[in-house]
Each structure stands twice: as C-alpha cells, then as structure tokens.
C-alpha cells in the first residue's frame, strides 16, 4: 500500500519528504532519538531553542502534569549557538532530513547575530524564530504579542539569512491571525503555531505555585483543539505556509491540523510519551491517504475551508 501516495511538501526551496517534523524542546538535538527513530524517515526535526549564549534555565521544579497535558518552565536552558555548532551539529552530519534551528533572544540584535551565524552552516535547512519571549529593550513586552515587534524582528532576520524563516507564534494573544499577517508582511516564509499556552498549577500543601517559575507553558493532547482552531483562523488570513503544532499524538490529529490549513506539522510532548510516535504518525497519515484514495498530501491542506 504505502509508497504510492505523495507525502512530499515544498516550503520555499526545501522539499520535505513528509509533513512530520518534531517540535523544538521536545526532541533534544535529534541524536537522543536516533535509538528510537530513523531520523532520515522524518520530514525534519527542530532542535532545542538556541540563544546566543549558553543559558542555565530556571530553577526546578520545571514541569508538572495536568489533565492530558503538562506545564513546563524550562527557561530555555541551552548550550548556546556556538557550542551547538561545534559540539552537536557534527554528530548530525550525513543525515538525509531537514534540521531546523529554533532561536530566540531578548533583543532584535541577538536574533540577528544568531541568524547570521546559522546562515553559514549548510546543515541547517531553516530557522524557526521563537517569539514567545520578553523583549528586554522594549521593557519586557513579549515579542510575539506585538505585531510591530514581530514585523521588525522578521524583517531584520530576513536581511541576514537566505534560509527560510519560520516565525513561531504564541497562542497567548487575542488574534493570532493578526500577528501571522505581520510576519507575512515582513517576509516570513512560514509561520508555525502554537507554542505553549501559559498556565499555572498551585501546590495546595505549600500554598505556592508548583513551578519555581510560577507559570509554565501548557502542552500536550489537552490543547489540540485550540491549536487546530488557531491554524484554521490563520489559514483564512495568510498565504504563506503554516506549520501546525500543539497536542498532536496520533495521525488523526495531525490530519485535523493539515485539513485546517497546516502544510507541515510538529510533534512535541508526544515524543516524551512514545519516542517512536513521529514515525507512527507518518505511517498513519499514509494509511489514511491510501484508504481515502488521496494521492497527494497537498490535496488535504486546508480542505476544511472548502
């Protein structure tokens, strides 16, 4: 059965062999999963969020479970972009899949510097810009909540790199499509959504927030209907490709995102529960297409809007 359906997706000059990526912060630097997943079978994977310099992250506890979800407040612990290039990328040489770098900063200049550095590395296929972080020069306002900041940031990054730029949107806004439009006007090649939804769990024994950081980001199955709705809304308003993410744990939900308008999808939290889930989802999408006689995945993108 498998093989006679066309799963490939084009994004700018990139061809993805299938629409399944793995989400930043849930797939390490890829290598950690090579024991469970043939990385070459993936459409691509997105590495842990990188900052210009190494970051230690937040104090523990950093995670807590919620009904069909979890909160995390890792605080973007990472080794920094230079060590990533020196220590991690060499281990990823020779792979036949797309490696996407996820970057964030607290000032436009930081993003730009990282984009410049990563632009030179041929192993990196594209950049995903995490705007769910406070902009220190703008007094701590979140980049991702302000369409003007998203615009300026995207324009600045586009100037220094030829690699496709994906702007990853936060769901903690009133009108996500409006922010997506700002990214599009600024020349973004795609938007990905959703990042985590801010939440809090209280430890009633200690009468304090459970997480040391007080709030954390909600991810996992619980949030998928919100993500699908937001992809649907963004698809109505922008023309650039959408990457759907949020609570995907099986092929059905992946297909819901695709039908709502996503050209590619990312698997996040589900990797923790089953490290082979990404491959199972690729298979599941293929089976669905065979059963329903769909020869190309592109025919399913956004069909809900017809």
């Amino acid at each position: 059965m498998a093989g006679n359906v066309n799963l490939t997706v084009k994004l700018c000059n990139l061809i993805f062999k299938n629409p399944v990526l793995t989400a930043s912060g849930t797939f390490g630097y890829g290598v950690e999963f090579s024991k469970y997943v043939n990385l070459n079978k993936l459409g691509g994977f997105i590495v842990k969020g990188l900052s210009l310099y190494e970051k230690k992250g937040n104090k523990p506890p950093r995670i807590v479970e919620t009904p069909c979800g979890m909160l995390n407040a890792i605080g973007l612990q990472n080794i920094g972009v230079e060590r990533f290039i020196d220590e991690k990328l060499p281990k990823l040489q020779g792979l036949n899949t797309h490696i996407i770098a996820n970057i964030y900063g607290t000032e436009v200049e930081e993003f730009v510097k990282m984009a410049e550095i990563l632009d030179k590395d041929p192993l990196i296929s594209a950049l995903e810009i995490n705007v769910s972080c406070p902009n220190v020069s703008a007094g701590g306002a979140l980049f991702g909540k302000d369409p003007d900041m998203v615009y300026v940031l995207t324009v600045s990054i586009k100037k220094v790199t030829k690699k496709p730029v994906i702007v990853k949107l936060t769901p903690n806004v009133e009108d996500i499509a409006f922010i997506a439009q700002a990214a599009q006007s600024a020349g973004a090649d795609a938007v990905s959504l959703i990042n985590t939804i801010t939440g809090m769990v209280v430890d009633v024994k200690s009468r304090k927030p459970f997480l040391a950081n007080k709030t954390g980001g909600l991810s996992g199955p619980a949030i998928y209907p919100i993500g699908v709705r937001m992809v649907y809304e963004v698809y109505e308003k922008v023309k650039i490709p959408i990457i759907g993410v949020g609570g995907i744990y099986n092929a059905n939900i992946a297909l819901q995102y695709i039908m709502a308008g996503a050209s590619l999808i990312e698997i996040g939290t589900a990797n923790f529960i089953d490290p082979t889930i990404s491959i199972q989802i690729i298979k599941g999408i293929e089976e669905f297409m065979n059963e329903e006689d769909v020869d190309s995945i592109s025919k399913l993108v956004g069909v809900v809007h017809n």
Binding site: G25, P60, C68, M70
Partner: protein, 243 residues
C-alpha cells in the same frame, strides 16, 4: 516495550511488588530505572519512573501508591501488559575497596534491594544495610537491619540514627530515600569524610534527557539531569541548600 505482568502483590501498606517478564535483552545496573506508561491511552499523560528492585527471570519493581498513577498501577492484574521504556540512568558504581553501607528510607529501599543483591551475589562482596520505615506495616523487606520510627519493628528511629555513630572515612554510602534523610546524610558525610552515592528523584517527562525537566542544582551553579547524569550522584556534586 510491552512486558507481561507475571506477579503483582501487595507487600506492605500502600506498597506493591510488580514483576514483569524479563525479555533478556539487556543488563540492568542497580540504580537504573524504567519509564512506565500507566495506561495505553493518554491519561495519565506522562510515564512514571520506577527503579529496578530486582532482576532475574523477571524485572521487579516495588512501588508505593502516592497518587493517581501509582493507584492505577496497583490495580493492574497479572497477565496484563504494560509499556516500559528503559533502562535509563547511570546506576550505582561498586567499589570493592570500601566498606559498603546501604542506607534506605521508605520506598527508597527498593533500588537498594537490587544493589544489595548485585553486591552480594554478583560481586560476591559484603555490605551492610540499614533500612528505615515509619512503622511496621510499611516494612516490605526482611533483608538488612530494619528500623521503624515508632519502634514497632527493629531499631526505634531512622535508618540514619541506626548507623550514624558508626560511620568512618572508609565508608561508601549508597543512599536512597526522602530528601530530608539525604540532606542529613550529606551533612554526616561532610563531617566524617565518607563517600556517598545518592539516588535522587525529580519530576520527569521524557526520561531520556531531552525535556530538561528533571534537573537538580549542582555545586558549580549549574543543573544536571536526574534521568541521564543521575539518578545516582556523588553527594558532593549536589547543591544541597537548593534542594
């Protein structure tokens, strides 16, 4: 990896032993753990970490019901299959030139039972064990020296109190148990100059080092992951004040 439950039995108050068939695919070091999927669907969402308490024809776990996940686990029946990932973590290192002292508190005794078995029957070495519980009804082992807080079985007091006067520079402590006990032991080790390998717990999402959820603070002001760099740490690595 779906493994069949060979035995599930209550062994003490709220405490169960769970034995699953050993697929004989790997060796497991004492101190290592598995990530257990409680149900075949997405609730509870995250896997639960459980240490190996015994390893032979079966892989054995001893767990305490403390919340929803362990509650559901306690209702599983023999013959059912459970999904395991592992084994994970670094495990204890055995040093034959030392006086080996195992100190466990409550359910923290579980991994030490497998360590004891390995030391005595694998390495053919000797070790001393001091296992403390709250009360008789919670005691799930007859091996080693047992203490209870209320004196209902064995020595009256904590496991630490049982041994504390008797530690020396040559002792290598293997410890697992509640945090206050471990902190107490860390102080003692500083004082007596003895070594200690301590098994720590942390909330885990992935168990394989990628979520960065399970970190503990280290003396150099950094964080280490319990699932990869641990769960067993040299006590001198840990920033105990921040634990």
């Amino acid at each position: 990896m779906r493994l069949k439950i060979v035995e599930k039995r209550q062994v003490a108050k709220d405490t169960y032993v769970l034995k699953v068939e050993n697929p004989a695919l790997f060796d497991i070091l004492p101190g290592q753990f598995f990530m257990i999927r409680i149900n075949d669907f997405n609730y509870p969402l995250l896997r639960r970490p459980l240490s190996v308490a015994g390893f032979s024809n079966t892989i054995d776990f001893i767990f305490k019901v403390v919340g929803e996940g362990t509650k559901i686990l306690s209702l599983k029946k023999e013959g059912e299959f459970i999904d395991f990932l592992g084994s994970f973590g670094n495990g204890f290192t055995i040093n034959s030139s030392k006086r080996l002292v195992l100190i466990g508190g409550g359910i923290g005794v579980a991994p030490l039972l497998y360590l004891k078995d390995t030391i005595e029957n694998g390495y053919k070495l000797k070790c001393e064990s001091y296992f403390g519980f709250n009360t008789k009804s919670e005691v799930f082992t007859s091996s080693g020296n047992v203490s209870t807080m209320d004196g209902s079985l064995g020595f009256k007091g904590t496991a630490v109190e049982m041994i504390q006067g008797d530690l020396d520079k040559n002792s290598l402590i293997y410890a697992c148990g509640p945090l206050p006990m471990l902190k107490k032991l860390a102080l003692l080790c500083f004082e007596y100059g003895c070594e200690m390998q301590v098994s720590l717990e942390a909330r885990m999402a992935c168990g394989i080092g990628v979520c960065l959820g399970c970190v503990v603070p280290t003396v150099n002001g950094d964080f280490k992951r319990v699932c990869v760099e641990g769960p067993v740490f040299d006590y001198e690595e840990i920033q105990w004040q921040e634990m």
